[in-house]
């Protein structure tokens, strides 16, 4: 079994999971952050639960939900789909465990935008949707990007929940953390070291993205609009 398989699978799972997590996490952060939602504390607790749960427990819960006799599993089976022990299950596991990180970063980023800027946009006649797209979102982008990087890293490192719901099937659901475990267990040191190297590079990339995002958000916003370079150094 080539070590490239787990690496590509891990990347695919992490990219898909992070995309889903971004949409869901940002959506929930906007929904729960901006209005009075009934039972808000309960929803937030549910979102954050996987952060305090041992990942294997989260995975076991997902297995109960998505298993053949679980409520979601039955629903999917009626549509001819089965997710347990497929790479889709690995995506589900990654989404659930990385959602708390994404949600908290997005929420903090959205709340960090000066409310007076949104009020100013209201007096200018912008709809709430346009205010979100044109004012709130661009200004909270550094924080959201940090959330994306952390969620991606968490998805990439997912082990416990993935093992429970997706299994450790070489070529199908064996992501890098699982492959590393199997490699060490089987005494295949060279393969294990390769996974270590790849993970280190990816981890550095993630830390760099978070660092850049934070540096950007701290810097006073003095840059000019895009396309100004064409106008030379006029100031």
């Amino acid at each position: 079994m080539s070590p490239l398989g787990p690496i590509l699978l891990s990347l695919r799972v992490a990219v898909v999971a992070t995309t889903v997590t971004l949409v869901v996490g940002l959506g929930l952060a906007r929904l729960l952050g901006s209005r009075a939602v009934p039972l808000k504390f309960l929803w937030e607790a549910l979102i954050l639960l996987p952060m305090v749960f041992p990942p294997t427990i989260t995975g076991y819960l997902l297995l109960i939900l998505f298993g053949r006799r679980g409520p979601l599993g039955k629903l999917l089976a009626s549509m001819g789909m089965q997710v347990v022990f497929t790479w889709a299950a690995a995506v589900i596991a990654s989404v659930v465990v990385s959602l708390p990180l994404m949600y908290q970063n997005c929420k903090a980023a959205l709340l960090g935008v000066d409310g007076r800027l949104e009020d100013a946009a209201r007096t200018l006649g912008l709809s709430e949707g346009r205010i979100f797209r044109r004012v709130t979102l661009p200004l909270s982008l550094p924080g959201i990007l940090a959330g994306v990087a952390l969620a991606f890293a968490r998805a990439l490192g997912e082990f416990g929940a993935t093992l429970m719901i997706a299994g450790n099937i070489p070529g199908r659901t064996q992501t890098v953390p699982l492959a590393l475990y199997s490699a060490v267990e089987g005494g295949r040191t060279a393969e294990a070291n390769l996974y270590l190297a790849v993970t280190t590079v990816l981890a550095f990339a993630v830390v760099a993205v978070v660092g850049l995002g934070e540096a950007r958000s701290r810097r006073p916003r003095r840059g000019r609009d895009r396309g100004d370079a064409a106008f030379g150094g006029r100031s």
Binding site: L117, T123, L126, F231, S235
Partner: protein, 211 residues
């Protein structure tokens, strides 16, 4: 024209506002914490009075008895915020264009030209001086073609020399646009220099004095 009669409970006292301004500049003068900004926010639709009525021109924008409370988007009130609340991620032109239908860049330039800052169209607010920022905030507020212009301490962020210059500019603008303006300040000299009328806000109530 604005006619407003409303009450709103604040943590320390109750605002009891009775206000009518027509085509002139009225100064809301009072100490900080006297509720001046809250009055502007109620007029613009950013805060909600407890009871009463607010009428802009012929349009009832708030009425507690009739259950009317138009959102700020539908009130067409120009609002210059304290410290201006300019969008830091957009150029001067982008700040004004956001207020225009279909983000018409050409018309945004016209507004900047009117305030003498067209040459700064591509700069972001962070690179503008205090006076330039104030002009931009004015241009942006007027770009919505408002029924009424609200100014919240528009000169407090400026140094002394710039402030004198901006007073003159404001007086010229006031005559040119002939719009109903409510300007909030805690500065007595400013109130006397800039207003047709001065309304003093004290203990939640407005009292008129002729300058």
């Amino acid at each position: 024209m604005i006619r407003a009669r409303f009450t709103k409970a604040l943590p320390l006292f109750e605002l009891d506002v009775d206000l009518e301004v027509d085509g002139s500049t009225a100064i809301l003068w009072g100490e900080s914490g006297s509720g001046k900004t809250t009055i502007l926010e109620c007029v613009a639709g950013l805060a909600r009075p407890d009871e009463g009525e607010i009428r802009l021109d012929d349009r009832l924008v708030f009425s507690s008895s009739e259950g009317i409370d138009l959102p700020p988007q539908e009130r067409r009130v120009g609002y210059v915020f304290q410290d201006y609340a300019l969008f830091p991620h957009l150029s001067a032109e982008g700040n004004v264009a956001l207020a225009l239908q279909r983000r018409d860049r050409g018309r945004a330039r016209e507004y900047l030209e009117r305030f003498g800052i067209a040459h700064l169209a591509r700069r972001r607010p962070g690179l503008l001086s205090g006076g330039e920022r104030q002009r931009l905030a004015m241009a942006r507020a007027l770009a919505v073609e408002p029924r009424l212009l609200l100014l919240d301490e528009p000169f407090s962020a400026l140094d002394h020399a710039t402030r004198e210059e901006m007073y003159t500019e404001f007086l010229r603008l006031r005559e040119r646009i002939g719009m109903t303006v409510i300007l909030v300040t805690h500065n007595r000299a400013e109130a006397e220099a800039l207003g047709h009328r001065i309304l003093e806000l004290r203990e939640g109530k407005l009292a008129e004095e002729r300058p």
